[in-house]
């Protein structure tokens, strides 16, 4: 479980996050949605420690993460997996080495043990037989899946995904969504996803937090989002005619 308590963050003079509090439950897919510039990426970067918050607290299973310095956060970081928008695979390493990287860095596993784990993770994301491919040889969807394999390789307790569907076709997006959902339930991890993909919101969102102008504007689940009368949220989620017709028939 990840708990945010009154998080605020400024970048320069601009207030990006304003007093945000929320709880992201274990074994659930927690979605953070919001328009461009709403602060969701900054919130995620604060949660993983890439940005420092100005005030508030971030608790990982009641352990205060935000008050620690870089070194003291190391044990926490080993429990965190993150899938970046573009995959962020290391260009100089092939797929196998990318997935093996966190294991080589932080475990004393033998090469055979690491290879078993790498193959297991790649099979789990339905990517067998790409071990020796370079990241540049992979499609966008494959890159995302390798990034997921790398994120789950060290058995994380917390999984963060920053817009995992961006730039993917609808069918591949569904594959990625389902994969993240399955992994969350299978390993009972706390998953937080930044997205503005409507399908993800309705299909895999156990809990949805809507950010607007750096503030938490709405919180609920996929059922509730269809019936909400929150003006800004409706304007964001049901902007297209297709989404409006879904709301009508809900």
């Amino acid at each position: 479980m990840i708990e945010l308590k009154n998080i605020s963050k400024k970048l320069g003079d601009r207030e990006i996050l304003n007093n945000i509090s929320s709880v992201f439950e274990k074994g659930h897919v927690n979605l953070v949605i919001g328009g461009s510039g709403s602060g969701k990426t900054v919130l995620m970067k604060c949660m993983v420690g890439l940005f420092e918050i100005d005030s508030g607290e971030i608790l990982y299973d009641n352990r205060n993460f935000s008050s620690l310095d870089f070194k003291a956060r190391t044990p926490f970081r080993k429990e965190i997996g993150m899938v970046f928008q573009g995959g962020a695979l290391f260009d100089s390493l092939n797929v196998e080495r990318n997935v093996m990287f966190p294991l080589s860095m932080f475990t004393d596993m033998t090469y055979e043990e690491k290879m078993d784990r790498v193959n297991f993770c790649l099979n789990r994301v339905n990517l067998p037989n790409v071990n020796n491919h370079q990241p540049s040889e992979l499609s966008g969807g494959m890159k995302k899946r390798v990034a997921i394999a790398r994120a789950i390789a060290p058995n994380p307790k917390y999984l963060f995904c920053d817009e995992p569907n961006s730039g993917l076709d609808p069918r591949t997006s569904i594959v990625i969504d389902n994969l993240i959902k399955e992994i969350t339930m299978e390993y009972d991890i706390t998953t937080v996803i930044n997205t503005h993909d409507m399908n993800s919101v309705l299909e895999i969102g156990d809990k949805i937090t809507y950010l607007h102008q750096g503030k938490k504007w709405w919180e609920g689940n996929a059922e509730e989002i269809l019936r909400t009368d929150n003006k800004e949220l409706n304007g964001f989620i049901f902007a297209s005619k297709l989404a409006q017709s879904i709301k009508k028939h809900a």
Binding site: L50, F76, I80, F90, S104
Partner: protein, 246 residues
């Protein structure tokens, strides 16, 4: 005052980098990879520049030696000392600042803008140390060898240019090379290459690491890194010469 900001940030970056490696074996592999990159990968350009520079120095020295009282073997002395003291350590390092410096900045800058450095940080890896420390140590280790090779090739180039054109006899040139040879000059060249290796890799890494934006900014950072490391090499060259030779 912007330079003061960069000066402070550069030293904070250096401090952040100088930490105990998370896993020595991984850093060792990186070190070997960079040695191969910087050493073997630079051999072609270093050989080409050295041979032709040596040849040009020799020909120009012969061209300027119009006084019949100055013995012909002094061409060998001038070529040897110019190459060992200045051309190999300084000119080759300026060439390497362009080749290796821009490559380091592009590599690290691209990793920054594609969030690969963020991925390292999230894993709990000191990205500055992991990416930069092996490059600095590899360059400081391999550059002196590259410079020695460059000096050898430069002198060989000078010898070939002088003797093949018939402007100087082989015996005169070799006598000049051996005449009044000061071994300290080689030490001085190695000290310079050691310092310049540090300048090239740290300045290039600093610019790459602090790149923000996209492909355009990566290109700009590469340009800045080459310009600033070249300026620092020239300033460093003057300071070292003043301190160690005069």
């Amino acid at each position: 005052m912007r330079w003061l900001f960069h000066f402070g940030q550069y030293w904070l970056f250096m401090k952040r980098m100088m930490t105990k490696p998370e896993k020595f074996s991984i850093y060792w592999k990186q070190f070997l990879r960079e040695c191969d990159n910087f050493g073997y990968g630079s051999l072609g350009i270093v050989a080409l520049v050295s041979v032709f520079t040596g040849a040009v120095i020799t020909i120009q020295t012969i061209y300027n030696l119009t006084n019949p009282l100055i013995p012909m073997y002094s061409v060998g002395i001038v070529a040897r000392d110019s190459i060992i003291l200045e051309f190999s350590p300084t000119i080759i390092c300026l060439v390497l600042a362009g080749k290796i410096g821009s490559s380091i900045t592009s590599e690290i800058g691209t990793m920054r803008v594609t969030e690969q450095i963020d991925a390292l940080e999230i894993m709990g890896i000191n990205s500055a140390a992991y990416l930069v420390l092996p490059k600095i140590t590899a360059a400081m280790f391999i550059f002196p060898f590259v410079i020695l090779l460059s000096a050898f090739l430069g002198i060989t180039g000078g010898y070939l240019a002088g003797t093949l054109t018939g402007k100087i006899s082989s015996a005169d040139f070799i006598y000049g090379l051996q005449n009044n040879f000061i071994p300290y000059n080689v030490e001085f060249a190695l000290i310079k290459s050691f310092v310049f290796a540090y300048i090239i890799t740290t300045v290039a890494s600093y610019h790459g690491f602090h790149t923000q934006g996209g492909a355009l900014e990566v290109g700009k950072s590469s340009t800045y890194s080459v310009v600033y490391s070249s300026i620092l090499i020239l300033i460093g060259d003057y300071i070292l010469t003043q301190l160690l030779l005069v």
